[in-house]
Amino acid sequence: MAIKTDHKTFKGGVHPPYNKEMASSQPIKAAPVPAEVIIPLSQHIGAPNEVLVSPGDKVTVGQKIGGSEAFVSAAVHSSVAGTVKSITEITGFTGAMVKAVIIESAPEQPEFEKKAGADLDAVTGDRVREIAREAGLVGMGGAAFPTHVKLAPPQDKAIDTVIINACECEPFLTCDHRLMLERASDLVSGVKLLMKAVGAKSGIVGIEANKMDAVDEVRKAAEGEPGVSVEVLEVKYPEGAEKMLIYALTGRKVPPGKLPSEVSCLVQNAGTALALYEAAAWGKPLYERVLTITGPGIKQPCNLLAKIGTPISTLVDFCGGFRGEAGKLILGGPMTGWAQKDASAPIVKGTSGVLVLTADAIDVGIEQECVRCGKCVDACPMFLLPNFIVQYTKREEWDKAEMSGALDCFECGCCSFVCPAYIPHVSYAREAKAEIAALRKR
């Protein structure tokens, strides 16, 4: 039973074991530059990028290597100085084939030259959007939606509140926690840039109550900044889901199928706000990110600043290697992350962590018949009927699956987490969503 607190929250959700202490005390350190980086050309939701380099080209750190004219897209940049070795198809972290640029890094890696003298107070909202687009910013919590698109809401929707998602409600992950502890003032500058971009009067940083030290740091940094505030949220999964977070902080409910702009909100991840600050102040594109390497299957859990395109194996080796019996290797958090069959995939802009579970830490059950206990219905933060979505998907009754709310599922996994019959609801919901989308296109 949950302990009732007066912290803000939403209805539904679950309380998984958090296991944050494994890595939360580890300061961010730089990961080694790998001999070769594998940079997928499209790391965002939206139109695919065109490749801008060819094999044999010399590239520098931060050079644009992929871009698109389409509005919903995000450019990719080289994360190392070196030579383009090849452009090839690789198996991405989701299992789908993606085009990637493989760059052999030069033995000498020059530091990225920070552009000095940017006056952050003078930039306009339009300029912020441009900066975000040039830097290839995407949502760094995992969904990887292009940031500049989010910063350009429909004309008739005025944004009054920018919400910074610093909940980090996924168990195990601690990278946002460390960022807030170590770079609170830069984060607040990023929040101000976001507010400026959409013309919002207030900016709220939402932090779960298990990171009170971060709350203190950010509060200190936000002191005297008009409109910027820090709110403490109940520790519950998925507190950081966009709609849940907006509801917890403002009491506004985003209608089904609508975007946060419908209720005059903009939600950005803490890491994204920081990346925006870096892009605006230093002219630095998004070619590296902070992520957490953790889990019972890692010898030395830690938080690393790693180049985009670094293979997972390089990071795991840097953290002392694997420990214990083989289990699962997950890119992202344990609730929404993607299981990998080996450590060859590269990290991308949306990778918030590498989690390694040992065999004894995995509760693998055999899928049984639904016993209609209703625990999934109670856990679903969107108030959907996960058991019926599964049932209709099994029967391929897509119209009923849609009416049961399949399209509103954002795959948080609460239903499967509590299911006594070990039903993988998320898998069925994905199938239903894909089928419904395919039917619509026809």
């Binding site: 074991p17 969904a143 939606f145 889901a241 709609k243 409910k253 209608p255 199928g257 609508k258 975007l259 694997f322 289990g327 699962k328 290797l329 997950i330 344990p334 609730m335 929404t336 992350g337 299981a339 069959k341 080996d342 579970l357 995995i362 509760d363 059950g365 049984q368 018949e369 016993v371 209609r372 625990k375 109670d378 969107m382 108030f383 009927l385 019926f388 009754e397 897509w398 119209d399 009923k400 849609e402 709310g405 399209l407 509103d408 795959e411 948080c412 996994g413 609460c414 499967s416 987490f417 509590v418 299911c419 006594p420 070990y422 998320v426 898998s427 994905r430 419904i436 039917l439 026809r442």
Partner: protein, 385 residues
């Protein structure tokens, strides 16, 4: 290590100990005190009934699963829960062969023939009880023994009921030793109200705990009703222990509090309004056992919060109607079995408004008959998180 990683869909965590067998074990733990209390009140005969019920249930499940070529799932414990719940609905002197028939009906017919756990549309225990109730075997399962009747028959001796048409009471109890006695029957508190009689002499006299069975006006003592010093089925007698077990299950998350609250609340309110022996009706019969352990069955109760309230209040009202207007003193089992199949309708057609839904419709617009092909409807852009 790296080449033997498991690959599954997210989430990669599962709540510890959240399994079907764990839920069933919670129910068994909650039921244990009731069984022990029944043994104290009705003697060792209860153990024989429970044993026969459990063994028959297990055998029925194995046989049915083998016939239907499905994996045997005895280990999930649902057959044991059904068997014990069914036994708890019986009079403590029910002949063992009747128990075996009922247990077979519960597991083999009400559960396995419908497709096994999760597919049954009736609560198996209640289904078997109601079948017995409307069958010629009813006479065996409706004669209730007075508390501590074992003092006349012996604690460990099995009691068998046989019908003797020449005896006005209709029922004679025999022990295996051959002693027969007809002195042990007693009306249940509810049948007393129903027949308009007050307590006959057989239930008067001091109880082992010192108080008396009845108040000065001749009504059953409320304390006795609550603690379980009364005649009735094996499991229904002690309201106190049912409450303890039920609260344990609510704490464990196995049972949703809305269902017992709705049933008992609606029923109690109606008896208050009509002033139909509210307290005695509340504690006198199977209301608590039904509300906490029967109606809360996962498979045969709705999954949504709104549906649970409708289901629970519906059962409460139905129990009242049955007790108030029908010729029978009890109505809990019938009310639950009436509402069990309605669960499917409630789940499908009572809408659960989604997060952020502006309109708050009571009914969902699911088609009643399957459509020939799904109709794609244009909608706004899909959600991005």
């Amino acid at each position: 290590m790296a080449d033997t990683m498991q690959v599954t869909v997210s989430p990669h965590l599962h709540r510890r100990d959240e399994t079907i067998s764990r839920g069933m074990r919670n129910v068994l733990v909650a039921l244990a005190p009731l069984g022990i209390w029944a043994i104290i009140i009705f003697g060792f005969n209860v153990v024989y009934i429970l044993a026969v019920s459990c063994i028959t249930a297990a055998l029925s499940e194995i046989v049915m699963r083998k016939i239907m070529r499905r994996p045997v799932t005895l280990s999930d414990g649902s057959a044991m829960v059904t068997a014990i719940l069914f036994a708890f609905l019986l009079a403590p002197t029910t002949p063992l062969w009747v128990v075996a028939i009922g247990s077979f009906i519960a597991v083999a017919i009400a559960k396995e023939l419908f497709g096994g756990l999760g597919k049954n549309i009736f609560n198996p225990a209640i289904f078997a009880r109601v079948v017995l109730f409307f069958s010629p075997l009813a006479v065996y399962s409706q004669r209730y023994a007075r508390p501590f009747f074992w003092k006349t028959t012996g604690f460990f001796s099995p009691v068998a009921t046989s019908i003797n048409n020449n005896v006005s009471s209709g029922v004679v109890y025999k022990t295996l030793a051959g002693n027969s006695t007809s002195l042990v029957t007693a009306a249940t508190p509810l049948s007393l109200f129903k027949s308009g009689r007050l307590l006959p002499g057989i239930v008067t006299g001091p109880t082992p705990v010192g108080s008396t069975w009845v108040t000065s006006s001749g009504r059953p003592n409320v304390g006795g009703l609550f603690l379980g010093l009364k005649s009735g089925t094996i499991g229904e007698i002690s309201i106190l222990l049912i409450l303890l077990g039920g609260l344990y299950l609510i704490y464990k998350g196995t049972v949703d509090w809305r269902i017992p609250a709705g049933i008992i609340g609606a029923f109690f309110l109606l008896t208050l309004v009509t002033w139909y022996h509210p307290v005695d009706n509340l504690f006198g019969g199977g209301l608590f056992l039904g509300a906490f352990f029967m109606a809360t069955d996962w498979v045969t109760s709705p999954v949504t919060r709104r549906g649970k309230w409708i289901f629970a209040i519906g059962i409460g009202v139905t129990i009242f109607i049955l007790r108030f207007w029908s010729a029978r003193p009890e109505g809990v089992a019938l009310a639950i079995i009436i509402w069990n199949p309605l669960t499917l309708l409630i789940d499908r057609y009572i809408a659960q408004p989604r997060f952020g839904e502006v309109t708050n419709p009571l009914f969902s617009k699911l088609p009643i008959l399957p459509k020939s092909k799904p109709v794609p409807a244009a909608k706004s852009a899909p959600e991005k998180t």
